[in-house]
Symmetry: C2
Subunit: 183 residues, 2 copies
DNA sequence: TCTAATAGTAGCGAGTCGAAACTATTGCAA
DNA sequence: TTGCAATAGTTTCGACTCGCTACTATTAGA
């Protein structure tokens, strides 16, 4: 039988899908990597917006991530903010211009929105499983939402992080955290 | 609610998955684009191995595809073969060395192989739907298997292509064709 | 026949990519 | 307290992708 393996077919579909998606990015002012970095920063909480976090999320090196972030800063889409407590580290915040950039329509998003809800649910679950399992073999971080983390505690109106020992303002808990550990 | 849209989540998962997959390629002698081009050539039939076909499959330009193919040829993984009937066109054939390269183990493939059969089936179906719908809006070709094409006809032991008016040897029908139209 | 379409390529500038070398901090232990 | 070692970020390098434009060669069609 010259039928191809299931894993080969899926691998190919994922590659094709991301190429089709990336081809759209190239038409805009941002290339796919820059868009991915900006998109991450827009969804990451204040503890997770350093170059090294972006590097790990994008599965690349700190050097490469550094260059991509410099390019975004040059274009005025993010702004660097130095830490007072640790003079080595930098946090990049997304500017209003950067936030606008995230609103651009996407062909892939349109297609997904037209899919039946049940299919979307299953697809999301399957993709999450794949990402989780690969991250397990690579010992990579999950980058899940703060409020779904094992260190997250509800506290009055807000919340608290047991790992970093800090109070969490409302937005923090709904954003991505690089310290995330599945509860 | 600051919950993100389903489409955004799925888009992100696909990007993350392809980055995790691509990161593995970088460890080898081929970069992700070169690997994708080689993988395509290894599965495409003799009518579909020209630079312009690779370009359309990889959703890029002929110029970029041309460079990637030259790089693969330099590494001895593919060999160019000029056409006798049309002196403009070139067909690249995968060498034995190139075929060996395709056997490299993949972390993503391993994870997929461990998934329950039912999940794999649903996932494949959903991803195929997404690719099909996006291609529809872009007016792109489907690049399906020859034997699932509307122009495919069984004929004795072999098969026949009604579009190109040629007999199909056994391997042809099980390979990708750039002229593919869903039956 | 002559012009338009097609196939492939070369070169440009911006940027990604890993890798290695480098600076500036911070942490920790003797 | 001094003195490394670890950490955070950057820079540079060479190979390459990427869209784009301009170009050559060939073929198709009016």
């Amino acid at each position: 039988m010259s039928e191809h393996k299931n894993s080969q077919v899926i691998r190919d579909l994922i590659d094709r899908l991301s190429r089709l998606n990336a081809a759209e990015d190239w038409n805009g002012p941002l290339n796919p990597s820059q868009f991915a970095a900006l998109s991450y920063l827009a969804r990451a909480n204040r503890f997770s917006r350093a170059p090294s976090h972006v590097a790990e999320y994008l599965v690349t090196t700190r050097g490469t991530a550094s260059q991509t972030l410099k390019a975004l800063a040059r274009k005025g889409l993010i702004r660097e903010s130095r830490s007072a407590t640790d003079k080595r580290s930098i946090r990049y915040d997304v500017t209003d211009l950067g936030k606008d950039m995230m609103k651009a329509p996407s062909g892939l998003a349109n297609v997904i929105d037209d899919l039946p809800e049940e299919i979307v649910k299953d697809l999301t679950g399957s993709l999450k499983t794949l990402v989780r399992e690969i991250l397990k073999t690579r010992k990579g971080r999950s980058f899940g939402l703060c409020r779904t983390c094992a260190h997250h505690r509800n506290r009055g109106n807000g919340a608290y992080c047991n790992l970093l020992d800090v109070s969490l303002a409302p937005p923090d808990a709904n954003e991505i955290c690089h310290e995330h550990i599945a509860a």
